[in-house]
């Protein structure tokens, strides 16, 4: 049976909602798609990695267009989703440059965000039936 235009639009909306959930809460997209083991692993590993980055005095970079590298780091940080905004709201992630672990913390925060972006893409492929 051929899918109607309405079916396709509904399917596209569902896929984008899955992606939004996957970005907002790491692993949520996979959990919604029934991939429980993958979803839980992403949720625990990425959230822990982000928390570890904050604990190591890493900085959640602000979006500063005048400083392109800082803006890119901010985009990567935001990849982790709502946790970024909660941490910023709570005053965490100010970053202590003199801390021995400052650069390590930044690496943890940035990589956690970037890996969550990959997880979002995987959720997209899964929702599209490619995996």
């Amino acid at each position: 049976m051929r899918a109607t235009t309405a079916d396709r639009e509904q399917s596209a909306t569902y896929t984008y909602l899955i992606c939004l959930a996957a970005w907002a809460i790491p692993g949520a997209g996979h959990l919604l798609l029934g991939r429980i083991q993958k979803g839980l692993t992403f949720l625990i590993a990425l959230t822990l990695m982000f928390a570890f980055g904050l604990w190591l005095d890493g900085r959640l970079f602000p979006v500063e267009i005048t400083q392109p590298l800082v803006a890119l780091a901010a985009l990567a940080d935001m990849g982790i989703g709502i946790a970024f905004f909660i941490a910023r709201g709570a005053g965490a992630g100010a970053g202590r440059v003199v801390a021995l672990t400052y650069e390590y913390g930044n690496a943890f925060l940035i990589v956690a965000g970037l890996m969550n972006m990959l997880v979002v893409l995987d959720a997209f492929d899964t929702a599209q039936g490619r995996k």
């Binding site: 083991q37 993958k38 692993t41 992403f42 590993a45 990425l46 822990l48 990695m49 570890f52 190591l56 021995l100 672990t101 390590y104 690496a107 943890f108 990589v111 956690a112 890996m115 990959l118 997880v119 995987d122 995996k131």
Partner: protein, 58 residues
């Protein structure tokens, strides 16, 4: 807080290996195998690179 460079590198490698192992493979057994391979490559590669750089001080 006392932080060891090697310890932090191992923790970093662990997180990345867990995520990529889960992302790239579907079966739990394959995920574990691929994750372990990645983790070993990260740690052994990091230590090896560290020793290579030891002979080329800045």
């Amino acid at each position: 807080m006392r932080a060891s460079h090697l310890g932090l590198m191992i923790v970093f490698a662990l997180f990345v290996s867990v995520v990529f192992g889960t992302l790239m493979r579907d079966e739990p057994k394959e995920q574990l195998r691929f994750g372990a391979q990645l983790f070993t490559a990260f740690v052994v590669g990091g230590v090896a690179l560290g020793w290579i750089l030891y002979f080329f001080p800045l």
